[in-house]
Symmetry: C2
Subunit: 196 residues, 2 copies
DNA sequence: CGCGGGTTTGATGATGCTCAAGCCCGGTGG
DNA sequence: CCACCGGGCTTGAGCATCATCAAACCCGCG
């Protein structure tokens, strides 16, 4: 189960990991299997791990006062998940993260300095920085487009940029991720068919 | 003009800077004055600096196909500004950043490795990491609330969290930052008066 | 066959936008 | 001193977008 991670890191950073590095990674990451709907993190808990999805798909969401779920993030194979705020500041999370499909994940704990230790590997640290950057940029863009663009535009953009999502998540989940209702999404799609 | 920066860094990190560190910082940062409406970055340019606002206020915005400005970020004294994507990837920026009030700023160039050199100062590097984190978390929250919450809620939140903004920017700028029109903002505020 | 998850359709209503007009107020120039 | 101008803010009428609610449909599966 570790191989996808090792491969991922070396591919990301273009530099191979030393034997020791790999051993450290093997010690640090805790493999875990999740069944569909199983929680990786629940509202109110402190996020104690950075998680690598070796296989599967998860969603992150909040539940509002009316009991409605709002998807804030979707993640699939070879992505990382965590609640950064909760992890770093050790405060209770406002998010729920659960498996949408059965998953194989690798947990990197903050406890006992594992996270810090792994970050002493330059390759890993570099990769993490880059991921931080790209993730941050992506969030910025999403924010921007959620303010400026229409629902339709955002849908098309997602279709273009992350077609994989459509393979792993049903449309009502995608709709929620886009911040619209499933009905609206359905109408948008119908509308598009005609045009194209 | 450097003192606000030095103060800022030591306050953020709780550890004093050594004499050498300060000298490095003095060499690295380029002081600059901006008059109102002067650009710090224009659409199409590559962002070559990370900028510290020692004094003043700036806005970041995009112009859409209809020529309308959409504010994406507001920054005031003791904040940092840059287009992270453009800076890191050296790609043309899609943003404009200009001074809303006269500013005194400090530019940290990427060129000649200044940015990297300054990052060898552990205190600075730590601070930067923390800022990255909090900034990222803030963006995440803004995204989330722009999707889930009503315009009114977002306005109240801003009032609560960044009252300083209201001292530096007129309401139509705030409205744009919130992703609503000035008319809507005006009505929201009137509405609130009655209630309270 | 019937059930459940996912998707679609239609009717209705709220929220926020557009456009157009007017107000307030602090300059500036005659 | 007043008249005018421009930036900022407010108000109102009509409209577009999207949410809500309710119903139906579709299809794989026990």
């Amino acid at each position: 189960m570790l191989t996808p991670l090792i491969q991922y890191i070396t591919r990301q950073s273009q530099t191979p990991l030393s034997e020791e590095d790999i051993q450290l990674i093997e010690k640090a990451f805790i493999p875990k299997k999740l069944k569909k709907r199983e929680f990786l993190l629940q509202e109110g808990e402190i996020c104690r791990y950075i998680t690598f999805i070796a296989k599967g798909a998860t969603r992150q969401y909040v539940v509002d006062d009316k009991g409605k779920e709002h998807i804030t993030n979707l993640s699939i194979t070879n992505w990382w998940v965590s609640d950064r705020e909760s992890f770093h500041e050790e405060t209770p999370s406002i998010y729920n993260i659960d498996a949408w499909q059965d998953c194989e994940v690798l947990l990197l704990p903050k406890a006992n300095g594992w996270y810090d230790k792994v970050n002493t590997i330059p390759t890993f640290c570099e990769m993490r920085k880059r991921l931080d950057d790209t993730h941050h940029i992506a969030t910025q863009k999403r924010l921007h487009s959620s303010i400026v663009e229409t629902a339709e535009h955002r849908y098309r953009e997602l279709e273009e940029k992350y077609p994989e999502f459509f393979l792993h998540f049903p449309l009502h989940i995608i709709a929620s991720y886009l911040g619209i209702t499933k009905e609206t999404l359905s109408r948008i799609r119908k509308h598009g068919m005609k045009k194209v």
